[in-house]
């Protein structure tokens, strides 16, 4: 059995008994009923995911998957591909947005080279990044498939492998991405899987103007026409219009779900990875927490398709895992509500009139 098959078999839905047990306690807390709203919904989910009334979430990592994209040759991004390895260096040196926000919540930042179009072997040898490079960037999806089906499987298995590697020391995962041009494959993925028009799901990425956005839409439409991805086959969608870091994110999600661990999904690119993962294994959705709603307009459509309601809405559009890091505080808060707040009986507080 392959690593992917083995992982898919291990993914079970949330446990209803643990959900019920959590709900029963939360119903009795010293507050008006369910007065902490969505944090209490989240606490029920965490109990159902982890099979615990004290869900472990203190050991946290944001896994930032990096890769480059052949489609950048079509002029879909304001930044050149050389920024991808430069930003990997910035992550390693602690100077990026994700470093600051992971520090705030006490999370590790784990950087994985899934397919950066530059030689990062020195950083990998010194242990600063994990090397799972599939290739030096994808092929240009406007001309043919972004990668082979074998590469798509390898990307997902690399993500699963990273989740396993970290599993012994991490309770709560966050996804992250770095890859110049990667809103383009992400928009292609959501259009392919949901059938919603490219113009509706495509946004300005790092800051395109109207004419550049129009061009990006045409490039994505061309990629879908040339490749004809099968919307019911996540591996086919990933291979034809995806990216190596998107495959790595999908694998990380599947690997976390197989370990019954919650995984916070960051922004537009990470949620494209979640779409791929949920197309392959629908039950993995039970382990997803949508961290935020980004400025990128297709993000809302992704969340609707996944039936997830994001926790934060702060006009973020950075990626890297920054939204996931921010939302880790809310996951911790939800656990503390379940474990630290007294019931009416425990605290001898009078209840509401019935």
């Amino acid at each position: 059995m392959t690593l992917l098959q083995e992982t898919l078999q291990a993914i079970l839905p949330q446990d209803q008994e643990w959900r019920d047990q959590a709900k029963n306690r939360l119903d009795q807390l010293t507050m008006p009923h369910w007065a902490l709203g969505r944090l209490m919904d989240l606490a029920v989910d965490l109990a159902g995911m982890t099979r615990s009334m004290n869900p472990p979430v203190s050991r946290k990592a944001v896994v930032t998957m990096a890769g480059d994209h052949g489609v950048v040759a079509e002029g879909v991004s304001k930044f050149p591909s050389e920024v991808t390895p430069q930003m990997v260096g910035n992550f390693v040196n602690g100077g990026a947005g994700i470093n600051a926000l992971a520090n705030q919540v006490g999370a590790r930042v784990v950087v994985v080279d899934m397919g950066v179009a530059a030689d990062l072997s020195a950083m990998a040898k010194s242990g600063k990044i994990i090397d799972r490079k599939i290739a030096f960037g994808t092929s240009n999806m406007a001309k043919g498939p972004a990668m082979t089906r074998e590469q798509a499987v390898a990307a997902i298995e690399a993500g699963i492998d990273v989740a396993r590697l970290l599993g012994g020391e991490i309770d709560l995962f966050g996804t992250g991405d770095m890859g110049i041009g990667n809103t383009t494959p992400s928009a292609a993925i959501v259009a392919a899987i949901t059938g919603i028009s490219v113009a509706t799901v495509t946004g300005r990425g790092t800051g395109l103007d109207d004419a550049q956005l129009d061009h990006k839409v045409k490039v994505i439409e061309e990629a879908l026409k040339v490749n004809q991805p099968d919307p019911h086959d996540g591996l086919d969608v990933l291979a034809k219009v995806g990216g190596f870091e998107i495959g790595g994110i999908a694998g990380l999600i599947l690997g976390a779900a197989a370990q019954r661990k919650p995984v916070l999904i960051d922004g537009f690119i990470s949620t494209a990875g979640a779409l791929i993962a949920s197309t392959i294994a629908p039950s993995c959705r039970d382990y997803l927490i949508a961290s935020h709603r980004s400025v990128e307009q297709g993000h809302r459509i992704m969340h609707q398709h996944l039936q997830l309601e994001p926790l934060l809405d702060l006009n973020l559009r950075l990626g890297e895992g920054t939204g996931a890091a921010l939302a880790m505080n809310l996951v911790e808060a939800a656990c503390r509500i379940l474990t630290e707040v007294a019931t009416f009986e425990e605290a001898a507080v009078a209840t509401a009139d019935k």
Copy 2:
């Protein structure tokens, strides 16, 4: 000069030069322009409030002001007034929602008896709460003023005094409340100050049904008719249809603003306190951060009046300072973006095409 007058004179607007300096650095960070959205807006505000490029926010306190309400005699709440002192005991024992959420972010919980209708002197003597009790609950505002103007001034000065007492050891304040029935005076305050109808601003509090909500609206309309508060005189509004803990919150806000310290406003009751404070000293708004939008329907109207956009929207309706505690993480995150993220020049990362 009275403590109140002295405090009002010390409240200055945010400093534009420090705001500009922060904006200038944030413009150059290694990310697409302003890609961390509202956290970057918040970082500019924090620099303008604290006159610093490294705004101090690490020493945090949620100040939970407690008081009772004579209007509970009209049957406006599902819980009896005896729950107010019981919940104060719960705060002191660490078993309430605010304890769990303050623990998560590393904030102190400071409980102040502003006017609980029970003898809490034993807790005050042992140093577990601060005693600033104005009276054993307000008078019934449906029959006449909730308090005298002198008591209103005393409540606000007590809040200022608490801010001073804590000022040497606290950088970041959060407001909180406990008081059975206190959504009723809060709705009266927003109706009085904004002129919007009572039915529009009044919500279900701890869980009223339709008939109970209808009754609550009639009680508030009666209170406004009987008392005729002057919407331009915050002290008059507080005296006639307010509460002791709401006055304490207004004072805490004025005291924090006078110290140029940011103050996170919690939910519906805390924001009623902010309305009172901003009616007395409009510049204090420059130091307010709206932590969340609650389920209580008048909360949105309060934020519009104050021109504040809340950070979180999680269906909370608890009070106690719980939303303020949650949002403290976002304030810390905003500071870290300003201080820890490298600029393009520092990190030698290529910039976008112009």
